[in-house]
């Protein structure tokens, strides 16, 4: 898979906000959603007409364990203000154990990004099952709030 | 210090001009020929037979291809699907914008060939560069002696330029076309067998200072050279064209060297006699 820059860039550039209306700025969050749980959870949120901010761009991955460091860095490079990794709850992985590995790798990567000077709140992980439409809504809302508070991300970016 | 002569080059060395695909011919399941013009319908540049052109899809990549022939207002590139760029080209449609720069390389030694009998040997997509010279000879028929084309491919479906090899060329005066395939099918009535064996079977005579122009996959070239040697062809009269990875096409980027030669400037056309003075690294 590759992260097509177009998907991230379809929205107008974040920087050009009219003066005096900073609250209008919507962050761009790239969400890597596991096919079996979180993607279904997002679907459910949509079907249930649950309102959540339009800041999220979901990318479906077979398992949260599929997400590797390149995915995360590439998302930040191409304009993401935050990155979310979301998958099945521990014990529920479609592939039995994938998300246990995700858990270790995620913590390590989050620490690494922090060490490199990124705010760790820009890179988060959540377990969202297929029945947790409301949780999906709440996670996206919360993360959007977090990142709004942090403002636009300029670090690691290589697009204008 | 920087005043040096610039070769006549219609396009700036590293910056291409925009062109359009005006026609696409499906030659085989994995080879298509692309006709390229400038947006206002002119020929991007006028290459000599055997020269190369750098063709690109702007947002995909660029690569060097042989120019298989040219019309009054276009260039033709016969391209086999082998990688990212060629896959994307194969998915393009007529009207697609491309970028093109060139011509590069030395081309076939036309003066050397004039007045002589010529034997063309091609394998698979290897007929593409040779075709530029064959068509030149056909257009300037009186300048050359007898013409013979020996061409082979894996199967009848993989034969390229079917109009030329089956219809156009056999009608030309004093021109013979012999075809072979590695594996035949129900409809195939021609020869079945590898090109080198077919050459020995046809046994073209080297007499009259006949020149052989050869292009195909490396393994075919290797065995054809043995066959041609058996038949008595001189190394100076065996001419082939090489493929190397190229990025600039103008002798700067460094990667297409074979010894101190650069394929993009000093090649891609070499005689066997020349190749024997170079390291075997191609």
């Amino acid at each position: 898979m590759s992260l097509d820059t177009e998907a991230v860039q379809q929205q107008p550039a974040t920087a050009a906000q009219p003066e005096g209306a900073p609250q209008e700025w919507e962050p761009r969050i790239v969400g890597f959603a596991c096919n079996w749980c979180t993607y279904a959870g997002a679907d459910l949120a949509g079907l249930s007409r649950l309102q959540y901010p339009p800041s999220i761009r979901l990318i479906r991955v077979p398992c949260s364990g599929r997400v590797n460091p390149q995915f995360v860095i590439r998302a930040f490079q191409r304009g993401a203000d935050g990155v979310l990794v979301a998958g099945c709850h521990p014990g529920d992985c479609h592939y039995s154990t994938g998300n246990y590995f995700t858990r270790r790798r995620f913590l390590l990567m989050q620490n690494m990004l922090q060490y490199m000077g990124m705010d760790p709140r820009r890179f988060q992980a959540r377990w969202i099952s297929g029945s947790e439409g409301p949780k999906f809504q709440q996670v996206i809302t919360q993360m959007t709030e977090d990142i709004k508070a942090l403002g636009p991300n300029r670090k690691m970016r290589d697009v204008e | 210090m920087t005043q040096v002569a610039v070769a006549e080059n219609p396009v700036s060395p590293l910056v291409p001009i925009v062109g359009k695909i005006i026609k696409i011919v499906t030659e085989t399941p994995d080879v298509k020929t692309f006709h390229v013009s400038t947006p206002d319908g002119n020929k991007p540049f006028t290459p000599a037979p055997g020269q190369l052109g750098m063709l690109s899809l702007l947002n995909v990549g660029e690569a060097m291809f042989s120019i298989t022939t040219q019309g009054p207002n276009h260039l033709e590139f016969a391209i086999k699907k082998t990688g990212v760029l060629t896959d994307a080209l194969h998915e393009s449609e007529v009207g697609q914008t491309v970028a093109v720069r060139g011509p590069y390389g030395n081309g076939f030694p036309i003066e050397f060939c004039k007045g002589k009998d010529l034997l063309f040997i091609g394998g698979g997509i290897g007929l593409a560069p040779v075709r530029s010279l064959i068509n030149y000879c056909v257009e300037n028929r009186d300048d050359f002696g007898k013409l013979q084309v020996i061409y082979g491919s894996r199967s009848p479906a993989d034969l390229v330029f079917k109009d030329d090899i089956l219809t156009n060329w056999p009608q030309v005066r004093d021109m013979q076309v012999d075809l072979t395939v590695d594996r035949g099918d129900d409809t195939w009535q021609g020869n079945v067998g590898f090109v080198p064996a077919f050459i020995e079977q046809l046994a073209p005579s080297p007499e009259g200072d006949k020149v052989c122009i050869l292009c195909g996959p490396p393994i075919m070239i290797k065995f054809c050279l043995q066959s041609l040697a058996k038949l008595g062809f001189k190394n100076e009269n065996i001419i082939t064209t090489l493929e190397m990875r190229m990025k600039c096409g103008v002798g700067k980027c460094g990667r297409c060297n074979i010894g101190s030669c650069y394929v993009c400037l000093d090649g891609p056309v070499f005689s066997l006699a020349q190749l024997q003075t170079m390291p075997p690294e191609y």
Binding site: Q77, R103, L108, M118, D158 | -
Partner: protein, 292 residues
């Protein structure tokens, strides 16, 4: 003298035909460098040396001979031996195809370029040896010389802790300045015994995870990903930092990963044996989940 023993054992192995090649060190251009050497003929064993300048970790060369006929003998210091274990754990090297000649290592020294030959006692240890946790080979067929004691390594994570204490933007500025210098020669990757992929994600294979521009963003992508790819497998030999022509503090990244792994998932030292799987290749049900 270790050097004498090396030559004897190498000569013996080659003469008897037990191995086809011995990988060791020979003197380099200057008195203060020793460099890898590949001995295939018994009469060449006199080239072998072991002194305070045999800094190169030789283990990675085993990959060049993994499909070769017969056995290869290789001299291993503590770090080389851990690297061999690592490669064996990843099925890159087969134990029965290598003959390991262990050498306990008192640490490598460095002399200022251009200086005249002098006694090595007074010379400083190279950076990579200052916090060495395993000077003695952890795997070998024969051990040449006596085991040495482990040096005080309490400063092992000092550089990491110093950087961790910086503010977010200070960290970003620091690493930005470092990665700006990177020329992407890939010496760190190519020398690393944990980087054993035949086809690297960063080579031109059409995946394009890494663009070829040399700019901060691509260099960040390269350096962070490199560190994460060797996470849990880095044996702390310090070769990446030693070979970096731009003197980037790469071990401050690798040690950060080691420190985090130890704190998060329990102490682990890569390459000490082949049984214990690296921390990212295993998990526990009770692993921390503080992020939820």
């Amino acid at each position: 003298m270790i050097t004498e023993k090396m030559r004897d054992v190498a000569k013996d192995l080659l003469t008897k035909g037990e191995v086809n090649m011995v990988i060791g060190w020979e003197k380099g251009t200057f008195w203060y460098n020793s460099t890898p050497v590949f001995i295939t003929k018994a009469e060449d064993v006199e080239r072998l040396v072991f002194d305070e300048f045999c800094t190169n970790n030789l283990a990675k060369y085993l990959l060049d001979y993994k499909t070769a006929e017969g056995k290869v003998a290789i001299f291993v210091k503590g770090c080389d031996a851990r690297a061999v274990n690592r490669l064996m754990q990843d099925q890159q090297v087969q134990r029965d195809k290598v003959y390991l000649l262990g050498i306990p290592c008192g640490g490598m020294k460095e002399a200022a370029p251009g200086t005249q030959p002098q006694a090595t006692e007074g010379l400083p240890l190279v950076e990579k040896c200052q916090n060495c946790t395993s000077p003695n080979p952890v795997v070998f067929d024969v051990l040449l010389g006596d085991q040495v004691s482990v040096r005080d390594t309490q400063n092992r994570f000092a550089a990491v802790e110093k950087l961790e204490a910086l503010g977010t933007d200070e960290k970003y500025a620091y690493w930005g300045e470092m990665f700006d210098k990177c020329i992407r020669c890939y010496a760190c990757r190519n020398v690393c015994p944990a980087c054993s992929c035949r086809e690297c994600a960063f080579d031109g294979n059409g995946l394009n995870w890494l663009g070829k521009q040399n700019n901060l963003q691509e260099n960040q992508m390269f350096n962070i990903t490199r560190a994460m790819h060797v996470a849990g497998r880095c044996i702390e030999c310090g070769e990446c930092e030693r070979v970096c022509p731009m003197d980037l503090p790469l071990m401050a990244i690798n040690r950060k990963v080691i420190k985090d792994l130890n704190e998060l998932f329990g102490a682990y030292e890569a390459g000490m044996d082949v049984e214990n799987r690296p921390p990212l290749g295993q998990f526990k049900l009770e692993d921390p989940e503080k992020f939820m």
